[in-house]
Subunit: 452 residues, 2 copies
């Protein structure tokens, strides 16, 4: 409950930025309200492991309330924030029952994150979902695993090949990690389980319009990652722009003309767009947005003309800062500290001006497959096992709470030392409600099925 | 692949009965095909732990293919079996893309299990879902956890009380275990996480029309379980028949007349009905069915007049055998052995007649809360910690595969020694697509929400 007259900080979104901002306010003389659209904070760097059956949703999703249990000045509300009234200093959110509610603020932090972007081709979404949420991860997992089942069921070798072809569009870290994991599912987890198909024959295609994988990494790391991807049998196709996606395949534009690739399973990891709230906020404040719809902020991460509104994480646009977890984490901590210092300064009669946000680039790291990762650390390039051990240490250390660390280690041992994967359940609801409709349309040509 | 002329056994359903039947056929001179509607075998006795956030779906759901990976004569197909042609010796299944396919058999095992039964009141289903599948478990978990969120959001104390009231209809093992776990969520897991409500004030009501909990257990165990439930604050209401369920509550018929209880979250664990396939099979074979639609079988678990068709598990009706996991396990193993012996006997020129199925009652066990369970073991009644340690040992031993055992132990330590629960993610899809619609209707009266 808010004490009378206490400064009210409202944080929209409990991703990395929101989490670290709230944390930095734990001893501030303020009442903090975190509003999030689900009940959990997602550890995004590992969400691809949920999509590929390594980890369970609970291992990458920590209840927001649990994060702030001991932080008595912090309140958590479940709701989708739909609008900000910058004059009235109020945000409007929708409760799970569809009823809107208002929350007043003195300082507002908007860290509502991104959604996938299809660069204007939203019709691709149903055929090539992205990977931003637990819902996405569980849906992708169902599609990947069911594809092998469909290949086993069909008697048409052409159809089987379509089912065993997986196309990942976008060769950033998520695309590379997904490609590597699907290759491991096909070559390590599933062999021996099928009687008609050989899962190891699956074709995993990683496509990008740019000319190297992991374009935000050093050229050395990109080259090492590409080499390892090819070694584990990923078909890497660079300099190819995807111009169409439908139920049964994708079309690329390359220097040599248009090519089509038949594939039932497509995954989109090519682009992100700011959450819809950014547009509302930009309209209300007159702030400029960049191409992805992110809001251009001042060096202190506030909206021009609105020192009481911070925009953080993937929603903010500042110089050439990349959309990575570390920018969100450091930006969140910075904003939280700035607000705390303002409040302390006010009480001591100081001005509100602070130092601008300075991003400390800790480096980049991406796993290609088990025991192999590439890392760029301030001039140092690690690869292979050494990179992977660093990946393991860093991710393990950043995973929230001891219990997720313990169970994740068990899961990783299962998958990396053994061949199994812990989370492979595809439910009837997934099969009936979603795949049925889509695939029935897609496979209208393939009627004959007498598998025994 | 079927060898020419090899005996073909088709098993419909990969629950306990199907799993143990297939296992018993691993060295038989037969080709075995297991057809299942999902890609996993569910360890049903622990599914309530998925519904209450203790375990992840993967920890109670083992891929059917993984179970039979090393069993070379066994084939697994994903499909919903919709019909049996007993003349043509063929089953018809539907693939995930909606396209039907046929599988011929020489011997058929039907172990398709049960669905929840509302005793003719199917309109209850949307308000009080049951707990049979992973889908059900994940849905119930979302409802339970979201109820606390809604209670925190509302400013109407009446509405908060409705959201904090949980009614479990049916006091069999699943009902008792769910009531105990919801009580632990409210009193151990969530306290300290909310600022406006006290989750420990939640009211958990366990209702049954019969006059004791766990009616299939000994009277001593029923009494001990009831006493412990009351001790942990479960409101046990016996001898009350539920006559209506709607969005905001339930109505019971008691000796004293009709009572209404306001409750947003209702769970149905009161009855089961045979899977729809049983009706088709009964019609095709002329077999009798019991009140729940289960097929009455011969003492050797075959359908009268059809020695080539076995009906097992929760789908079979034989004497007074209860619908418990042990009947399925032992019946499955018996049927598998019978078929194996028939085939071996045929090759040695012997007749097909075997010994009738004899059920060995190993006893009953149910957990009430952490460190407390009741068990009936052939005249011996254990309760409290001793019963609970037995429960732990038995369930751990029966859990398939080492990896589930390892990670379940971690989860149990987290929850039973600590206060946390590993799997609490409620996704936006769950919130938007399902709860929104239902609760918007339900709460039409409760419009005003200004939580801060």
């Amino acid at each position: 409950m808010t004490e009378q007259g206490q400064h009210r900080v409202v944080i929209v979104g409990a991703g990395f930025a929101g989490k670290y901002a709230a944390r930095a306010l734990r001893r501030a003389d303020a009442h903090v309200t975190v509003i999030n659209g689900t009940n959990h904070h997602v550890f995004e760097p590992l969400i691809y492991q949920v999509a590929t059956g390594l980890l369970s949703p609970g291992e990458v999703a920590t209840p927001v309330r649990e994060l702030f249990r001991g932080q008595r000045n912090t309140d958590v509300l479940l709701g989708w924030v739909t609008d900000v009234d910058v004059e009235g200093h109020t945000v409007t959110a929708t409760a799970p029952d569809g009823v809107p509610y208002q929350v007043p603020y003195d300082t507002l932090i908007v860290s509502a994150g991104t959604t996938g972007s299809y660069f204007g081709n939203d019709r691709f979404a149903e055929f090539a979902p992205g990977l931003k949420s637990i819902d996405d991860a569980v849906e992708l997992r169902a599609r990947i695993l069911t594809a092998f089942e469909m290949a086993e069921l069909t008697t048409d070798p052409e159809a089987a090949r379509r089912w065993l072809t997986f196309v990942i569009v976008g060769a950033g870290p998520t695309g590379v990690e997904l490609a590597g994991q699907i290759a491991e599912i096909a070559r390590r987890t599933l062999p021996g389980e099928y009687r008609r198909i050989d899962p190891a024959q699956a074709r995993i295609v990683l496509v990008d319009a740019v000319d190297r994988v992991l374009p935000t990494f050093s050229p050395e790391s990109s080259a090492a990652a590409e080499k390892h991807l090819r070694k584990i049998g990923v078909d890497v196709r660079l300099g190819k722009r995807v111009v169409d996606v439908d139920a049964t395949g994708v079309e690329f534009q390359a220097a040599t003309g248009t090519e089509r690739l038949d594939a039932m399973t497509k995954i989109w990891s090519a682009g992100v767009a700011a959450a819809p709230l950014a547009r509302r906020l930009a309209a209300a404040t007159g702030a400029e947005t960049d191409r992805s719809g992110r809001i251009k902020v001042n060096p202190d991460l506030t909206v021009p003309g609105h020192p009481e509104i911070f925009v953080l994480g993937d929603l903010m646009s500042l110089g050439k800062l990349p959309g990575v977890a570390q920018v969100s984490i450091q930006g969140g901590a910075y904003a939280g500290r700035t607000i705390r210092d303002r409040l302390a300064g006010q009480s001591r009669g100081k001005s509100a001006a602070g130092k601008p946000f300075h991003y400390f680039d800790k480096g980049n790291i991406a796993t290609v497959s088990r025991f192999s990762a590439v890392a760029d650390l301030r001039g140092l390039h690690l690869r292979g096992l050494l990179g992977w051990l660093l990946w393991l240490g860093v991710h393990w250390a950043y995973l929230p709470k001891g219990r997720n660390r313990a169970s994740s280690l068990v899961r990783w041992a299962v998958a990396f030392l053994g061949r199994s994967r812990s989370e492979r359940a595809v439910t009837s609801q997934q099969i009936n409600a979603r795949l049925a409709v889509r695939h029935a349309t897609a496979e209208a040509g393939e009627k004959e099925k007498t598998p025994v």
